[in-house]
Amino acid sequence: MSIEANEEFKPKIVAFCCNWCSYAGADLAGSSRLGYPADVKIIRVPCSCRVNPMFILRAFEKGADGVILCGCHPGDCHYSTGNFYARRRMTMLFSMLDYIGVENGRTRVEWVSAAEGVKFSTTMNEFVEKIHSLGKNVRLGDLRCRN
Amino acid sequence: MSIVNSQADKIKEISGSNPLKCMKCGKCSASCPSFNEMDIKPHQFVSYVQNEDIQSLVESKSLWKCLSCFACIERCPRNVQPGKLIDAARQIVVRQKGQDYLKADEIPELIDPETPQQLLVSAFRRYRR
């Protein structure tokens, strides 16, 4: 499936969702038929704290245009403290990406509870729109992965 | 959904309120100081917009009886805010009459020195949209 030059930009977006809140929130968005673009693909992780910055950089390396991490609201983590660590880690990572000149907005963290199907859907719509406005990720990809 | 009455859509757009959110509690009518002067009651504004019967609304007395006191807007538990709907209907009439927006520099010469400041502020509040 190669992308032709003038074909519409179809961003690749990876969404890491914690099993307990956000993945369930995504399920709720689904059962409530709250749509969002198919560009978003969800990877289930037990907790937002399972997401290693390496995973995010790897996604960019392999050609992702945006990466979003969703977890339980602070204080509601199934494992009580996981998202607090995730929050600091991601703040640091995002700050570093910003520092080296990667466009703000290619990465995002959003807290989505199991009851927030609407929020999940609006967040994804917003995020995809943001990535569309930023265009293709050229600063963080490995050239060999492009085709 | 087929093409909807453009005037109803326009009212929804101008007012920013969604008549479908109404739960028909009537708190707007219960709050309205002009209730008795009105032929179409505040809670009915909502159903008129919903039923796309803008003509009746535009021709009603209510259109000019609303004081813009905003009580219904303040108290509506569902954010439907009938006051905004009627205000939007009024704007439609005003605009239809070819009295679209004033330019800011046209205003000073139109102002009677006796005009209370309050009225000006109220007018701005009402017509700024």
Binding site: K41, G63, Y79 | K27, A30, S31, H43
Partner: protein, 662 residues
Amino acid sequence: MQRIGVFVCHCGSNIAATVDVKKVAEWALKEPGVVHAEDYPYMCSEAGQSKIQAAIKEKNLTGVVVCSCSPRMHETTFREAAERAGINPYMVEIANIREHCSWIHKDMEEATKKAVILMRAAVAKVNLNTPLKPGESRVTKRALVIGGGIAGIQTALDIAEAGYKVDIVEKTPSIGGRMSQLDKTFPTLDCSACILTPKMVEVNKHENVNIYTYSEVEKVSGFVGDFTVDIRKKARSVDMDKCTGCGVCQEKCPSKKTPSEFNRALNTRTAIYTPFAQAIPNVPVIDREACIKFKTGKCGICEKVCQAGAIKYDQEDEIITEKYGAIVVATGFDMIKLDNYDEYAYSQSKDVITSLELERIMNAAGPTKGHLERLSDGKAPKEMVFIQCVGSRCSDDRGKSYCSKICCMYTAKHAMLIRDKYPDVNVTVFYIDVRTPGKNFDEFYRRAVEDYGVNYIKGQVGKVIPQPDGKLLVRGVDLIDNKQILKEADMVVLAAAIEPNKDVRKIATMLTASIDTNNFLTEAHAKLRPVESPTAGIFLSGVCQGPKDIPETVSQAGAAAVKAIGLLAKDKLMTNPCTAKPDELMCNGCSQCANVCPYGAISYEVKEINDHGVRETRRVASVNSALCQGCGACTVTCPSGAMDLQGFSNRQILAEVDAICR
């Protein structure tokens, strides 16, 4: 190399209507490791599961990918099916092509493309899956019930009756909860105290029940079957063993100005007090904020008059640490604050009251000894207006978006009781809808209208205006007559919305139980698991889960008890095998992982490590898999990547990332 089978479910038309399931199966065959692919209308059905099992056996599959609904729905189903066919259940992964695909996309081509990618990610993961075996953990045969209202009492009684020990922790000095504040109950008009008090006595006397009143849960650690809870027993300043409950101290106490919590601050109480006459335990507490002895050091009257010598000014808070197998949350509710609804003049007039205040006024033990009178001047009212849905069903941020569920019925009850006892009082109810879905509920409401002449007006009140003469001018609307109504009333009763007890957020955080935007605890499944929290071992009883009336609360309390009993009846629990595992060859022993572990599951040992023949004695991490819950915080903290999470390993997740970005 794995031999993977891919099974694509149509879910009737739920998936097949938007995703070309045949194509997904076709594409699956092109993925590395995939040796079998098929589609079927209902994979989760008996027949569908048999297809999976048959393929496992025929094609010697080592791994299975099911493209179907959310793993939260049927992961267990498919894993069990695979296990019955002889492969390790953890060799099964689900690609969620329903909730995350067919249900949210409209375009068939687009949805099919996405489903293929989700399938690929799952296949990529299964290629790296390894068989996992659950461990075992023991179950402490004791339950904790947080909250001593009717929900907590009923749950505790049911658990105790089944033969298990159960502790109740109640924040206030007595059990009884909201129900003890009620006068009568609908739809039978029983006296609330008459039906509650025997239950309070029963639970208090039960040999399997231990009640901690005036106590709060301070800390919770552990996990299902093995929670460790710290309970703060607040200093009562009264020796519970010595006190005889004679009440002399309360008669003599000179500090009498504290608003009574029990009577909704409609009257006052003494500094040393029992909340109400039937309190259990019937032992007073000293409110140290109000007590003269505590404030000034002088007084000490209660100590002098107590013949039992039970007053203990130097008592201190006590922390009790106890182990539990199951925890039931029954923290109940409160009325919302009415600050946002000043149009109803609640803060301006004493005669505008909430319905719970009316309960106290109607109650013989209440501030007016059960006489219906205006709190401003003590006069008997002639006109009463009830306003429904105050703060309920609001989509703005002034109130609550939900229906409080109980107001329609209690208002009918109030109206009926007033008309019955004071036939000369006119009662008007402004309503939006009257909701009476319950056994004998609508009949009850109709009696209020037809037999008692309560005036129900379809419409809302816009404003209540206190008049100089003390009357209340109510401006409402009658939507049927399309008339605005101006009515002078003597009293206005507001059916204020109910909301979860404000402490529930703190408790939910301690329990790691999830909570919704309205602060109601979330159930594991709205329909199929309504009394369980998604957090294993935590059960929900009563209004903490959502608005309910008493019969519903009691039945849910029983259901929560049954779930807890089901857990306590087990000797051992299978633990989640997706736990962290350190690679000792790479571990630095730096302790960073232990710092972030919320379960204290990581310890360190100094041992001899053989690294390809090089032996060295050093400090390495070791994970107690019974304690580890598999969050993965440690895996990211570990700089060398020595710590990995089974079932969600670095390589598995990276494989999914790669498959998606390909």
